[in-house]
Symmetry: C2
Subunit: 292 residues, 2 copies
């Protein structure tokens, strides 16, 4: 049931994000890697969360959430492209395919990343589905979450943490910035545009915070236990780079315990929001137990 929902949303998002990029008037040699980048697929977790959060309040129409959802996925995609660069995490594969700088070159990867980031803000600012005030809210939230105090600080601290022995608290901080901010803002923007009350937004924001942690912990677990074909990149790549991960800091058993604890906390916050619709909870469940 929830898997079908995810599939439906992916089928909705994939052509739309490609169309947005196809519509650009670009030199062919620039458009090609752009399309390659947005076709890479992936789970589309962030836009799906945003849409599910919106639909918890507005089950009938999703028009209003489309542009923010596409923008968020563009920001996520840009961040992966830049993170994969040799100067950063230096990853050659993602989702079973060459990363952009391997398929093209570093300059192209830098520019496509810059372009997707800029385009995200453009897509929201010119949307014909949102009022000016709504656009401003979305742009403020997106730029804050993905900016220097958010995702970028997270990636910076993560790079600095290679070969360091971190404690759980520092690890939590890095992940709340690096992956948590975009997941959290997905839920928050969805709820806001859907018309949630301020207390509901607050509760869901906390739900999103725990969901982000659960997602990252599962990522770390998969890097230890996963299967290359499932996760699309070599297993053990965190280990190889000597990155601090939850299993390394806490051991696998305690990592699983903590994940369970955060899932329970998330559920509590979700109950606080008093929504008669379990979809976000089902998403929490499935992303906390995914195998890829």
């Amino acid at each position: 049931m929830i898997n079908q929902y995810i599939q439906e949303k992916q089928n909705e998002i994939n052509p739309l994000i490609k169309d947005e990029c196809q519509s650009l008037n670009l030199p062919e040699r620039l458009k090609q890697p752009l399309i390659y980048a947005v076709e890479a697929g992936g789970k589309r977790l962030r836009p799906i969360l945003m849409m599910a959060s919106f639909e918890a309040f507005q089950p009938k129409s999703t028009d209003k959430i489309i542009h923010p959802a596409l923008a968020l996925e563009m920001i996520h995609t840009y961040s992966l492209i830049h993170d994969d660069l040799p100067a950063m995490d230096d990853d050659d594969f993602r989702r079973g395919r060459y990363t952009i700088h391997k398929a093209y070159d570093d300059a192209t990867a830098i520019l496509i990343g810059d372009g997707l980031l800029t385009y995200a803000f453009q897509v929201v600012s010119r949307s014909n589905q949102l009022e000016a005030e709504e656009k401003i809210y979305v742009l403020q939230q997106l730029s804050q979450a993905s900016g220097l105090e958010g995702m970028i600080a997270g990636q910076f601290l993560d790079l600095q943490s290679e070969n360091q022995n971190l404690q759980e608290e520092e690890l939590n901080n890095i992940h709340q910035l690096k992956t948590g901010q975009l997941i959290r803002v997905a839920i928050k923007i969805g709820a806001y545009l859907g018309g949630a009350t301020p207390p509901q937004i607050e509760a869901l924001d906390e739900f999103g915070r725990y969901l982000g942690l659960v997602f990252q912990i599962q990522d770390d677990i998969l890097d230890v236990k996963g299967n290359k074909d499932d996760i699309g990149k070599p297993v053990g790549s965190d280990e190889e780079k000597n990155k601090s991960t939850y299993p390394k800091v806490l051991g696998l058993n305690q990592t699983n315990e903590i994940k369970k604890h955060y899932m329970q906390q998330a559920k509590k916050k979700y109950d606080d929001a008093r929504i008669n619709q379990p979809r976000l909870l089902e998403l929490l469940q499935i992303f906390g137990e995914r195998t890829s």
Copy 2:
């Protein structure tokens, strides 16, 4: 007189852009290179043009133009940081100092660039000086001009043009995208926020287009004839990278003729806008004849 104006505006912009960055809550090792990047100074041409364009219609208060002007300079600064990377133009010096990736490292330069770009949109979207509709206009214009169809395509084509023999038309196209778009949008946003009529905005937009070309042509001339201490980077660096420049394509004499022609065209467009204030014209004059 106009030099004093430029100096005054620089003295206004420099502390403000630094303050915006200082106010961020960042790890020290991330804040340091950020401040280094925005303190690099430079002419602040783009925000000055935006402010002068605004003041042509609103001579009394400049509050409304400050955040868009700072955002534009942040976007310009990010573009220089990324362009200077080894994977791109590979420049070690700018404005007489080490470029960010030389002073720090490539990862830091990529992240600081990403951060300044994102912050530009944040600074406008949260501005307390602008109405929601004004913010949206500014964000649309900035993201369009600096995006894939604008500045990024220009940088991409410029990189591809190394070792190519371009014709004047292709060279114009690259420069109108790479440097022209931001100069043009400076003028346009200034006029719009100042309350210019649509025909005035249109005429000034064309003025901005010619001004951008004049600026780039003078840049190329300085790369041939300039003095390292004046321009802050080695003379002849375009030649060394085998880049097409106006002097190379057209010879120095004809390059000077074309510059003169574009300056005349710019002046015509300025006259069409019917503004009782010569400051933008004086800026055209001085930037077209600058020695650094």
